[in-house]
């Protein structure tokens, strides 16, 4: 009687339970092959920054896509002109309750960090009159670019409001938050771009 295939297989696997020497040889072989594979795939220092290869995109680690809009105060706003200053780039609308909840936090931060961090609140697709009345009611004094055609919202793939991007001095997005910031999460995310 031949033993069933299954038990033969198991016995063969069991017989693979090798002697100590063979295990040690296996470990040494893996160590050598392993280090070789790690070595050939190393990244030369400086290569990454030199490549700077990531294209502008609304994602962590990527350069923030540039845009130009007119602000509620009637001035021209260009994101790249803020290079050298950390930027908190927020997208909001007056009809969005969580935005209304967080705007006072952004206002407080803009006063606390005046001249050190730029707080920018892009309004999504509303009329200048609406936005101005609303900003006056809440006493908002930070820059509010008007994204009337929602082109910039599309550029930043903003799917839900509010969404906030934290951009460092060199224009790289370091953190993004979907949903409202609180004072605590604002402080936490701010750490990635400032001081």
């Amino acid at each position: 009687m031949r033993p069933p295939l299954d038990s033969l297989l198991i016995r063969n696997v069991e017989s693979l339970t090798m002697s100590r020497t063979r295990w040690n040889i296996l470990i040494v072989v893996l160590l050598i092959a392993g280090l070789a594979w790690v070595w050939v795939n190393r990244l030369p220092a400086g290569d990454v920054s030199a490549a700077g290869a990531l294209p502008p995109a609304p994602a962590v680690g990527h350069p923030a896509p540039d845009f130009t809009l007119t602000t509620a105060a009637g001035e021209t706003f260009k994101l790249s002109e803020l290079r050298g200053t950390p930027v908190v780039l927020n997208f909001w609308a007056t009809w969005c309750p969580p935005c209304r909840a967080e705007l006072p936090e952004l206002q407080a931060a803009s006063q606390r960090l005046a001249g050190q961090v730029a707080i920018v609140g892009v309004n999504q697709a509303e009329t200048p009159a609406e936005v101005q009345a609303f900003a006056e009611k809440l006493g908002l004094s930070f820059t509010i670019p008007l994204d009337q055609s929602a082109d910039v919202s599309r550029l930043y793939r903003v799917r839900s409001l509010p969404t906030t991007f934290f951009i460092d001095r060199s224009g790289i997005i370091r953190q993004m938050q979907i949903g409202p910031v609180t004072e605590a999460t604002l402080a936490q995310s701010m750490k990635t771009i400032y001081p």
Binding site: R20, L30, G34, A184
Partner: protein, 244 residues
Amino acid sequence: MLPVIQLGPLSLPTGPLALLLAVWAALAVGAWAARREGLNGDDIYNAGLYGLVAGLVAARLAHVIVYWDAYRTQLLEIFGFNQRAFLLWPGVIVALAVAGWYVYRHRLPLVKVLDAIAPGVLVGIAIADVAALLTGRNAGAPTNLPWAVSLWGVPRHPVQIYEALAALAVAALALWMIARGSRPGSAALVALCGYGLSRWLLEPFRAPEASVTVLGGLRLAQVVGLAVALIALWGLGRLASRTD
């Protein structure tokens, strides 16, 4: 790119949703494996859920302590739903401690529990990998292979899928070992070894910008993966030769 799942008026962030799914899948697979080992599957669910709840509380508490200046003026935010107001590592440590306490308290055989949860954790990791692809994280290296996916405007290796498939394959191997009734501890060690090897093998398919480097350009995931694989292999050797 699917960072937010839109269900009518409801915007569900993919990341936290995938995390919940991953935890549930890990516990379900872990409970199944535990039953195969003659343990009570409910113990795995209990340990996991106690750990999860304790971990969430600890992660929020740590956030409150670190950012107390911000919370002082708005105490209700301590109980707020803000999904970013958590600190990862305090949460992970407390979750593991509480799950470990449950195992100790109920006198569960630790080695068998580790065997049972190892494949579950790998399934959870595979789900997290897929979520990483959906949210555009851990981008792959550029390639022109026919199965390249376009991310950030460049066709790239779908490295997140490679990693997910590798994790699933190792999970299947560990489950097979449990089903076959192999020596206690071997399924967990095989899972560790296999996962370490997969990270060591696949990390080079990640975009250089998505790789953390150490020691002048070595990829951290490769170094750690190889070290873990070697230690696990050494453990397997010890386990195999113990009764020979």
